[in-house]
Subunit: 584 residues, 2 copies
């Protein structure tokens, strides 16, 4: 072992102990007759000390030549520090060095190893192995490990078995695009990498493994939006002989445990909200309920006057922004510009100040009386001092717009507190959703989700209205998990696939094994999957997932550090029975 | 929840309790006026009871119609069983059923759900979801989970951090063949699936994450031998600031812990043996040391007479088979036939009986005196009653042959006891091994393994003799783990790659990121990787890994259950910029 202690370990109790430390040179302060070196490892920083009186010249010279990020080993004695540093745990002591061994030199690192580094994103990704030495990244990876361990131990205690499902599986046209893997031994054929172990976990239920989980990599070949990765990690779970209530309670328990373990916070029973209510009250199926600003639908109290913008709208809806009556006209104009940006897409915004004296002042005063506006205040729950913001238009669009505005205002008002946790179950999702592009219904969750009891018949008459036994777990405005009670009989599964546009032959080719399995004693079952990357970032109080992934890919799906993907040998292609088909 | 208790839970203390059970019908015994149903789930079997006196006719009829593997829910009362079954934990009670709900019917399963099933391998694989209901498979998967949990908890306690490394990486020509993944977004380029996270774990060491582990899937596109899978699981570990001794001690600790946890057995300090000694004494770099029969090299005591077979041989080597003097001539002839089979390839076998009276009787008595044969006995450690078996020929071949014979005899003699654990460190492996096919040296471990101190210069003069800081952990004759201290400076790595036949350009293209990383403060580091599939099967006392993998592939790399790999759409190929290049 190259060390007797870590660089985060030494305290006053170690004074006069002979120690060996190894680590990276964080910095050298050369005062001429004495030299200080900050030595860093995963555990902390310890100050090394050399002085002319007690150190031979050779040693002083060696110390003087050290550069940032050199890897060294030192032997010496722990001594009390003259000027203590109360900001670090080792700040009371230093090591008077007697021996210094250079283990490896370093070029000047491309950015500083500090919490606030001078390195930009691209440089940090290219030299990720250096970036990981920085506390924000290192601590995020350690935090991720702790969360994953907590998940595994909690679920194991609850009788769940982690079962590894295969990575080389079969491509299915439903859902997102698969990554595929050509098979050398099976000419012209391909494996696919799993988008999730969905069918396998259902087969495990058929196999009697009634409480399954797995922390597992999943793959989606999608055009990457910011903060999406082609490979991502799921906490994948399934239970047999359960109803929706059992799943919600089990994974509410897990989530509470994680919040407790990571923050020491006890969260009460999670509230539940139907999908319809979430859309009506927050314009969003993953509402952040750490703060209010619930939507108030104003059609009844705003469509009786001559204001045509409202009268022609499918939905008129507003929120009361707490204390925002203090906004200047200019600030409000900026807000109006904000909602009119193409990303949001509102055509305009009506506002109404609720003055401290109880009077109202709106941008549409020529259409609405004080009594009218008092009703707006009542519906939106506004109080004196608030600002009511009102949008109007097509229901779906205007809800999305107002939801975006609500989140933006909450951000500006400091209402999205990273150390506050407001989980929420959103339940009763629709079974299907209409896809504008392909002009047909898609499974909102996936094709294996069961409709609510008795609603199967509705699939023909009113498919958009069929509700599913599907649920999402939302934490602070992010969907951290989602699942459903599954179909477990062949007939229902066949009906479902037919409604999703599969011919019976296609259904057979893709999911024959699952439909067969349903004929050999499939128990009722259901489950949930959590996005681990997102979960740990939210629990870690961060907005982005990047630093919780050791080696993330960029927005083109490239690993810029190892420079992948890359071309492969002709020979290798030939073995795989493939030719390139380049557009050139 | 569809149940109040599991089918493995009820005991005499539950008598008179009202319970709800769910599970699979293991069997129905219809005695006319009473019906017994065995209800099974993951946890056990509980007997259900219906009788004409206490059950309505409708219920009796329902019970009568149940078939094997039907999924049912029953409500009833726990009662004492008239004729108890001491063989199962629930055997003292049964449930007098009041309500029966059919949750799902089942076709007649293709094989019996018994420990000794009537299903052949192919059928079991096709219907793996039914096979998993059988105890041998179910218990193996649960055992695997427990081992994996024990590994994670032990290493976490020791300060190791599990870090997820990427699955979509870069293809390298060194080592086995990669599975590749065409990139849609990067035309003409491919990712590769990792054969191991080797370079990433080394980069984590450069990144300061000084104790890393990961239980991770790895992929090799090799022609499959029996009991090899294209995807397999590794316990991958790496440490920084360590020497070989530290790695051996740390993972000896882990292995002891696993043997203790799974079998309650405390194993003493693991013996260590050099690669050279292992080859000399066992003809094998993974000797099973649960039993003796060490090799005795007989050249000195057997090459002084007129027996040309021995005189012309590079190596004459024998083992003393305990008690095998009792073998008949016929049995010995069979043994000779066995070593002459093409799989073993010996040209013949000389034997020598060591009689109880101290005399010898050999197949080469016309060449060797009693005194000569006494020396053979001395060298092989034979005792009266043993049989000495001697092979001769080229060193490498004859060692492999005698090693195979030793294992075969141990098997026949019952010396390979599944519940005895004899771990062994094999150390000081050669750095390189000569490959007959390509006529060049390959890295025996991998290109990142460091040579023993001071041996770098030997690389030019005598490459085959260079020893590496490489070690294997052997358990009961199986390599369960292997690792090395790595190279951590750019210059040595460059020399190594050059000796492996890489041009500097190739080295740069493949491993440039790693060589760069070595220039930014790489600490000394090393590690080990365990094959989890093999480890759990050995700890589970089994010879094959199949039942420890939930959904294994067959010898053509196919998943016969889901029928993968499979053809994909032309459209999908086009998006990936690929065309098929079939031999047709």
């Amino acid at each position: 072992m190259y060390r007797s202690h870590t660089c985060g370990e030494l305290r006053a109790t170690h004074i006069n102990t002979e120690v060996t430390l190894s680590g990276w040179v964080q910095g050298v302060r050369d005062k001429g007759f004495m030299i200080y070196v900050d030595l860093r490892d995963r555990y902390g920083i310890t100050q090394l000390y050399f002085d002319e009186e007690r150190s031979v010249k050779e040693l002083m010279d060696k110390a003087r030549k050290l550069g940032r990020e050199f890897v060294i080993q030192v032997k010496g004695t722990v001594v009390e520090r003259a000027s203590k540093n109360p900001n670090i745990p080792t700040g009371g002591v230093e090591v008077l060095v007697k021996e210094l061994t250079l283990l490896n030199a370093s070029l000047v690192p491309p950015f500083t190893i500090e919490d606030d580094t001078d390195g930009g994103d691209d440089l940090r990704m290219k030299f990720r192995y250096i970036d990981i030495r920085r506390n924000p990244v290192k601590d995020s990876l350690i935090f991720r490990h702790k969360v994953a361990q907590a998940v595994r131990n909690y679920l194991s205690e609850e009788g769940f078995i982690e079962v590894e499902t295969p990575y080389l599986i079969k491509s299915t046209p439903e859902g997102a695009r698969d990554f595929v893997v050509p098979s050398r031994m099976n000419e012209g054929q391909f494996y696919a990498l799993p988008q999730s172990p969905q069918t396998f976990k259902q087969l495990l239920m058929v196999g009697g493994m009634d409480k399954y989980f797995q922390i597992v990599k999943c793959f989606r070949d999608e055009d990457l939006r910011a903060d999406r990765q082609p490979e991502f990690t799921q906490i994948d779970c399934e239970m047999a002989f359960v109803e929706q209530e059992d799943i919600l309670n089990t994974f509410e328990g897990l989530t509470k445990h994680l919040i407790k373990e990571t923050h020491g916070i006890e969260v009460n029973k999670f509230p539940r909200m139907t999908f319809d209510d979430a859309m009506r009250l927050y314009g969003n199926d993953k509402p952040d309920i750490r703060f209010g600003m619930q939507f108030g639908e104003l059609n009844e109290v705003a469509q009786h006057k001559d204001f045509n913008v409202f009268n022609s709208a499918e939905l008129v809806v507003g929120i009361a922004v707490p204390g925002a009556n203090s906004y200047t006209r200019k600030e409000i104009d900026k807000l109006i510009d904000w909602v009119k940006r193409p990303q949001i897409g509102a055509l305009g915004m009506v506002y109404c100040r609720y003055n401290e004296d109880g009077s109202f002042k709106s941008s549409v005063d020529k259409f609405y009386s004080q009594e009218d506006l008092a009703k707006w205040a009542e519906v939106t729950g506004a109080k004196p001092g608030d600002l009511i913001c009102v949008l109007s238009g097509d229901t779906n669009k205007v809800r999305a717009q107002l939801s975006a505005l609500r989140m933006e205002l909450a951000e500006r008002l400091g209402l999205r507190k990273p150390n506050e946790f407001a989980p929420l179950w959103v339940i009763d999702f629709p079974l299907l959703e209409w896809d504008e592009e392909t002009e047909r219904y898609h499974a909102m969750h996936h094709p294996f989700t069961s409709p609510k009891p008795g609603q199967l018949a509705l699939l023909d008459s009113n498919p958009g209205n069929v509700k599913a036994n599907a649920y999402d777990l939302v934490l602070n405005g992010n969907e951290i998990g989602g699942g459903s009670i599954r179909i477990h009989d062949k007939a229902t599964q066949a009906i479902m696939l037919r409604h999703l546009g599969f011919t019976d032959e296609e259904a057979r080719a893709q999911f024959g094994f699952l439909m067969d399995a349903f004929e050999y004693g499939a128990p009722p079952h259901g489950g949930i999957a959590f996005g681990l990357d997102r979960l740990v970032s939210i629990l870690g109080g961060q907005e982005t997932i990047r630093d919780f992934i050791a080696f993330p890919k960029n927005n083109s799906g490239r690993d810029v550090m190892i420079d992948a993907p890359a071309v492969i040998d002709k020979e290798q292609l030939k073995e795989l029975h493939l030719k390139l088909d380049l557009e050139s």
